[in-house]
Amino acid sequence: MIARVPVFVCGDPSRGDDAAGLAAVELLPPDVRARAEVTAVGQLDVLLLLDLPADAPCVVVDAVAGLPPGEIWVRPLAALVDRARGLADAGRAPEPRSSHELPLDQVLALAATLRERPPAGTFVGIGGSCWDLGAPLSPAVAAALPVFAAAIAMAVKAAAGAGAAAEEGAAGGGVPVEEAADRPG
């Protein structure tokens, strides 16, 4: 049995460009959807990452502030962990979005700390400009959705390949993600 790739889609469907990830995964072709376990998570919860089997790659999708609207931004999750740690080492404030939640790179860094290694997988983001309640996607983001979906699809395929390789290399084979999710991390 081939494990499906966890795809954690962050965002709020009612807040303008924050809905971009949710809209993009709807455009994934059937063969990619069949290999992906898509979960809308609102904001990324560190326990989702801790509950993944060791080295099982995942894909995290979100809109990004600070990039030109519609620009696609793909990075290994490990690179975001390095970024968060770099900010901390430099003594710079982590700039949280609110006082009640951790930003995504800090969630990844916390997962890396707790697992003693960065989460495996890829972050796929898209620059946004409007986050107002009830607003539609901005025109540039709406126009870029097919490209955004294609980037997500590539990340899923890459993760599926890496996951299959990990399964082949593991004694006794890999653990199906949907089963492993209920196990202690």
Partner: protein, 439 residues
């Protein structure tokens, strides 16, 4: 951020303009001249929220959804104070199973809030870390278990309220939907695991070194004859106040303080500051703790220190974590869905008022309802507003213990003291700013 300014040979100034590891935006300012504390201010500069005006003209059920938005940590408390206030005015008697579900709802909120505060906001002070994330590197199992406890609480709120933050299922008269037995049973194992770790948590935090501090405040909380206080009981104090939960204004009042975006509260009898929250509840209602929580409190040896050392509130919070997990399991084991999740009700004009126990303490709501069943005016008094005067009083006490420390150590100790209250500035939207000046 902290700054120290030498204003004169005999004067020091300490300042924390943005206090971290509290909910919301506040600051601390303490000025000492010739060894005397001349100013102790807990500043709240977060912008006003205007919820008391936003709800004017709205119906009771709309209000219940709106006030949940006041706080992402304790939305259940806002919904409970509002719904009980309206049900009291409209003489609504909800189904006993619905009432049990509301206690379960509160358990979920206390679990997620207390787990967050104990491990991510307060424990780093005792263990010497700047944040919970830094603490995680050296205490991985502890932090992971804390995350799982918090998730267990959030999940409970989601099962009952439709989502973990800003839930939507509470209605005047009950619930828009009651959960199936199986939905709750599926979550039982996580609660059992959480109970075990909560019990361990009491032992862990009771082992922390508590900074020296001695002041017994005037405690205020709900107290009920047969259950630990969530949504019912009487408003009592450690010195004899005894009021119906609708009668907060008979003994207390709010007032404006210059430089703060939140109202302060005080007692009308001239005694001033009082303390609400876990330390007050554990002190005033220890006899109603779940037996497992009472056992944990007794074994900790902290029943007495909780009364006089504000830093020990972390132990009170841990004891309540045990209570919330234990009571949640009991409620789930006994649960039978209500015959009707919501009972019919009829609006009438008058004053709807009630107090319940938010994780941080007593939360009072009062609404004037007109003949059309809409809110004419509202008053919402969150626990952090009520605790502000006690915080500033305790800053003076704590400052006397820290003036011989280095500036950095003294500032940190005072921040730790403020975090002992688990202030939710977003709820209070008053002020917090630490500056110490010494002459």
């Amino acid at each position: 951020m902290s700054t120290a300014t030498k204003k004169a040979v005999d004067e020091r100034l300490y300042e924390v303009s943005e206090l971290t590891r509290v909910e919301g935006e506040g600051s601390l300012r303490l000025r000492v001249r010739d060894g005397e504390i001349v100013e102790a201010r807990f500043g709240i500069f977060e912008t006003p929220r205007y919820f008391e005006q936003l709800v004017v003209g709205r119906t009771p059920d709309e209000v219940i959804d709106m006030v949940a938005r006041i706080c992402g940590i304790c939305p259940v408390a806002y919904q409970m104070s509002a719904s009980h206030a309206f049900e009291d005015l409209f003489d609504v008697r909800i189904d006993p199973s619905s009432r049990a579900l509301r206690r379960l709802f509160y358990c979920g909120e206390w679990i997620e809030s207390h787990a967050l505060h104990i491990y991510f906001l307060h424990a780093p002070d005792f263990l010497g870390y700047p944040s919970g994330i830094d603490m995680a590197a050296d205490h991985r199992p502890l932090v992971e278990q804390a995350l799982r406890m918090k998730k267990a609480g959030n999940r409970l709120v989601a099962i009952l309220g439709g989502r973990p933050i800003h839930p939507v299922s509470v209605r005047v008269g009950g619930w828009s939907r009651a959960p199936r037995v199986a939905e709750l049973k599926e979550h039982r194992a996580a609660l059992v695991e959480g109970l075990a770790f909560a019990t361990e948590t009491v032992k862990i935090v009771a082992g922390f070194t508590m900074p020296a501090f001695a002041r017994e405040p005037r405690f205020v909380s709900l107290k009920h004859a047969a259950e630990y206080p969530f949504s019912d009981g009487r408003i009592v104090s450690s010195d004899g106040i005894d009021l119906a939960p609708s009668a907060w204004r008979d003994a207390f009042e709010e007032f404006q303080v210059e430089g703060s975006n939140a109202l302060h509260a005080r007692s009308r009898d001239g005694k001033g500051a009082y303390l609400v929250g876990p330390a007050a509840r554990v002190t005033l209602a220890a006899d109603q703790l779940h037996p497992l929580a009472k056992e944990a409190l007794d074994a900790s040896g902290f029943a007495a220190p909780i009364r006089t050392n504000m830093y020990a509130s972390i132990v009170a919070r841990a004891v309540e974590l045990v209570h919330a997990f234990a009571e949640a399991i009991d409620i789930i084991d006994a649960y039978r869905p209500p015959a009707e999740p919501i009972v019919p009700w009829q609006s009438r004009a008058g004053v709807a008022a009630w107090a319940t126990e938010a994780p941080r303490g007593l939360l009072f709501h009062r609404y004037e309802i007109d003949e059309a069943g809409r809110v004419k005016s509202a008053q919402i008094v969150p626990p952090t507003s009520q605790n502000q005067a006690a915080i500033e009083t305790d800053l003076v006490v704590a400052a006397k213990e820290v003036l011989d420390l280095s500036h950095e150590a003294a500032t940190h100790r005072l921040e730790q003291m403020i975090r002992s209250y688990d202030p939710c500035i977003s709820c209070a939207t008053h002020f917090l700013d630490l500056t110490i000046e010494e002459a």
